[in-house]
Symmetry: C2
Subunit: 200 residues, 2 copies
């Protein structure tokens, strides 16, 4: 058998992250009744980074943005998905996610684990142009899913327009153009009854 | 409403490729009875490109490899997944896939559509270091899935060791190290009964 401890460690990590395909989110795949999982979601964000990079407010390093969005949810293998409108869940989230990051990234050879951990921390808390743009994409996609699915997950979870506006305003930090587009589809969602103005 | 025809076209494409999450492959997600879809698979390959780039035979442009693996299966939205051991299916595959590429990539603004189409063609037929490494990753992942799932999909589809060796030898064109590793797990799979020597 091959005697390459480093490669075997990397393969073990690659096999471990297969689990991201079993962490489900609140959004539905369009035209289906199946909820999206974190791995598919991360793929979609990476494609969006390639397609929408011109709308970032500042110049970005595309490779770095792609790395961020590809790995931003890996910690949810242990910590699970927290619905973005769940206030209590979001308070407990950071402790669980830090523990997850420590366990999962320590599976890798040290230099690689440290690099990926740093990229994740930058995505979570950083002020770089890349972090701001990556977070904007991460917020844009569920809005598209809801808008093109006629508000399916918003209506199911009794979400109001003011919650959506509050939660997503920071899209503008990453991209003013995308935030303008989002305000349009939110307005249109209210008009069409996909999004309610008050809780029911 | 926002008056940005280009952005609206890009959003339409982003919504269209949501369908990749409904194209299923032959491999199973580890520890489950659910087959993997193309979007999750593409995410996994992009993570592998980041993690295993040091094993490419030649120096590679990582961003280009990542773009390749992220979009390599988008044509399957129209053309469907062809099992790699299906000889007849593989003969008809290229015509269907070219038609799919023409339809799907023409949804994008022209410069972007042309760029993505070129990347896909390079993945399919190219001789660049990037294409060879990307194809090696695309072959490695189903081998890992089968090996760590005790041959689940190989046994189900009556696949023999000689088929697996023939179909995957070109991994060595992208990475000699990864091909050595693959030969080890194939040998071990035969020993453990995950992979048969003759058709049943």
């Amino acid at each position: 058998m091959i005697n390459n401890e480093k490669l075997l460690q990397q393969i073990e990590f690659i096999v471990e992250i297969d689990k991201l395909k079993t962490v489900f989110r609140k959004s539905y795949i369009l035209g289906t009744n199946r909820k999206e999982n974190d791995a598919e979601h991360s793929w979609h964000l990476a494609m969006m980074a390639i397609l929408l990079q011109e709308y970032a407010n500042e110049e970005i390093d595309l490779l770095y943005v792609i790395k961020m969005v590809l790995l931003h949810d890996i910690i949810e293998i242990d910590a699970g998905d927290t619905f973005c409108y769940d206030q209590q869940g979001n308070l407990e989230k950071s402790v669980k996610e830090q523990a997850a990051a420590d366990r999962i990234y320590s599976m890798l050879p040290q230099d690689q684990g440290t690099e990926l951990l740093k990229i994740w921390q930058e995505f979570e808390h950083g002020n770089s142009a890349e972090a701001k743009f990556a977070r904007a994409l991460d917020r844009l996609m569920p809005l598209l899913h809801n808008y093109f699915a006629e508000g399916k997950s918003w209506l199911e979870n009794n979400i109001t327009v003011s919650q959506v506006l509050d939660r997503n305003a920071h899209i503008g930090d990453g991209s003013i153009t995308l935030w303008e587009y989002v305000q349009d589809i939110i307005e249109d969602s209210v008009t069409k009854g996909y999004l309610q103005t008050n809780k029911k």
